[in-house]
């Protein structure tokens, strides 16, 4: 199957710091990929390069047939980046809901403002997605009145309502109280089982084990291991992967 996300020879520098080193990665449609690694390994930066929240220093990115290469400049490049962003939905660690809009307004904002979708149609779509994340009853509340877990579920509904081809999750449960993590992971699981292509930066090894088709371990700006979760967790090859998994075992006590 042709990959829906294709990252080729990607480099990223922050000043002199080389944070992503010549990364190439392909993600086929409907696949769920978990990116794990210690903090500072470059996993969030890699994810943020996919929808150009970070500008890659070199290399090309292709999402659902839209390809942006390093040589492209000016208006053409801006247009293609815009197209890539329409193909990707993003969920942030800090939710980033718009505090001045109700839950429903948050969710229809993208379709109405960006796509010019008819408000009524957008509301129908938004309500369907809010139903699916279990928060239709909160549609007229402001984000301030929601728990962290609820905010993140709204954020997922907001991203889904743009009808993206790929969903990007940047540590979606890291800012949550432990007892709220489950509800968000459950929604993500549901999205995965509905066939969405997902790239998930996470520390939740349990989620990676259960839901991911593929787990990629990053270290020092490189992909150091790329395997099916059952192989990776039972038989890690790189010592850094081993250390990461061991720490998870100690933390979760099994």
């Amino acid at each position: 199957m042709a990959p829906i996300v294709k990252i080729s020879n990607l480099d990223k520098y922050f000043g002199h710091l080389h944070v992503l080193k010549n990364i190439s990665l392909e993600v086929p449609e409907r696949e769920v990929v978990c990116l794990i690694g210690r903090s500072g390994s470059g996993k969030s930066t890699l994810l943020r390069c996919v929808n150009f929240l970070e500008e890659p220093s070199h290399g090309s990115i292709e999402v659902a047939g839209v390809k942006v290469t390093g040589e492209m400049k000016g208006a053409q490049r801006r247009q293609l980046i815009h197209d890539v962003r329409l193909k990707t939905g993003m969920v942030f660690q800090e939710f980033n809901l718009f505090p001045h809009m109700t839950v429903l307004e948050n969710v229809i904002e993208g379709p109405v403002t960006v796509k010019g979708m008819d408000r009524k149609i957008a509301i129908e779509l938004a309500e369907k997605n809010l139903e699916s994340v279990g928060l239709i009853v909160k549609k007229d509340e402001y984000p301030m009145r929601l728990s962290g877990g609820q905010k993140q579920r709204v954020a997922i509904a907001r991203a889904l309502t743009m009808e993206p081809k790929v969903m990007l999750f940047d540590e979606p449960t890291s800012a949550l109280d432990p007892e709220l993590i489950g509800e968000v992971l459950n929604v993500m699981k549901k999205v995965a089982y509905e066939g969405m292509t997902m790239i998930v930066v996470t520390h939740e090894m349990g989620f990676a084990k259960e839901v991911a088709d593929r787990v990629i371990v990053m270290g020092d700006g490189e992909l150091i291991e790329d395997a099916k979760p059952e192989d990776l967790f039972s038989n890690p090859k790189d010592p850094r992967t081993k250390a990461l998994i061991d720490r998870y075992r100690t933390d979760s006590g099994n």
Binding site: F92, G110, V114
Partner: protein
């Protein structure tokens, strides 16, 4: 506090402490209010024209000509509408300019950034009084003749706009990076991000301080009277005061009008602020 256990269940230490603290605060506020009233009474007494004899010395308080006051109060009060009109027009002009200047400060395009800082520096570096005269007296030399009110509104608007640009800059800065990123990730253009996500939040942040500026402006609008052609409070007070040599009474009247207006506006502002602080943030 639990309202259902009045006089029944014993109160916890924390509740007792909290109640004591509330009592103390209430006591303080009451005492302040009483002191205010006393100060007000003293002030009224000082202007009552009464003679007081303490021992052998007799003090005479300030005599106010009440017939003058009754005769001219309508004339002076007639300036209120002009004062309010100038203040409202100027605050809108100032808000527009302040927002533009604040956005200019965010620009990475040097001429725009420079224009914004140049404007703020020039206006803040010269007196408001001079600016009013510049519009009213200097521009006619270039063939541009403005009415006193228009000159005043332009000068006040420009002046307050420069000062208020800081407020709007802080408002824009109060909107976190995550908000912009969420908008961008949805595919919004920079203009849409600004209009739909950043500005609404920045403006909400800016409303209370803009209220303060508006209150300050109602008083600075008195400077416009210097043109001699704007019949607002101050102009009317000085006109009748000078003509009949009753400046004391005239200025006291104007002062009372300004003060009352300020108190009313402060009260309105506190209501708006309360509304904004609850609910949707």
């Amino acid at each position: 506090m639990n309202l259902f256990n009045k006089g029944e269940a014993p109160k916890s230490q924390a509740e007792l402490l909290y109640a004591a603290q509330l009592r103390k605060e209430l006591q303080f506020k009451t005492n302040v209010a009483i002191s205010w009233a006393v100060l007000l009474v003293i002030m009224v007494f000082l202007f009552s024209g009464q003679s007081v004899t303490i021992g052998t010395t007799t003090f005479k308080t300030i005599h106010i000509d009440t017939t003058f006051i009754l005769k001219e109060i309508d004339f002076i009060a007639g300036g209120l509408t002009e004062t309010i009109k100038i203040s409202i027009l100027s605050i809108f002009l100032a808000m527009a300019l302040a927002l533009l200047a604040a956005l200019g400060r965010l620009s990475t395009f040097p001429p725009i950034y420079a224009l914004s800082t140049f404007y703020v520096s020039l206006i803040r570096g010269t007196p408001l009084y001079l600016q009013i005269f510049f519009f009213f007296l200097a521009l006619p030399q270039l063939g541009i003749i403005l009415s006193g009110t228009l000159a005043g509104v332009l000068a006040l608007g420009l002046n307050y706009g420069a000062y208020m640009s800081e407020i709007f800059r802080a408002g824009l800065a109060s909107v976190g990076k995550g908000q912009r990123e969420a908008a961008i990730a949805l595919g919004m253009t920079p203009t849409q991000t600004m209009r739909r996500v950043v500005l609404p939040q920045a403006l909400r942040f800016a409303i209370p301080p803009v209220g303060n500026e508006f209150i300050a402006m109602t008083k600075d609008s008195a400077l416009v009277s210097a043109t001699g052609f704007v019949h607002e409070l101050m102009w009317r007070a000085t006109k009748v005061g000078r003509a009949q040599f009753h400046n004391l009474e005239a200025l006291i009247m104007a002062a009372i009008f300004y003060w009352t207006m300020t108190l009313a506006l402060t009260y309105i502002q506190s209501i708006i602020e309360k509304r904004l602080s609850k609910g949707d943030r």
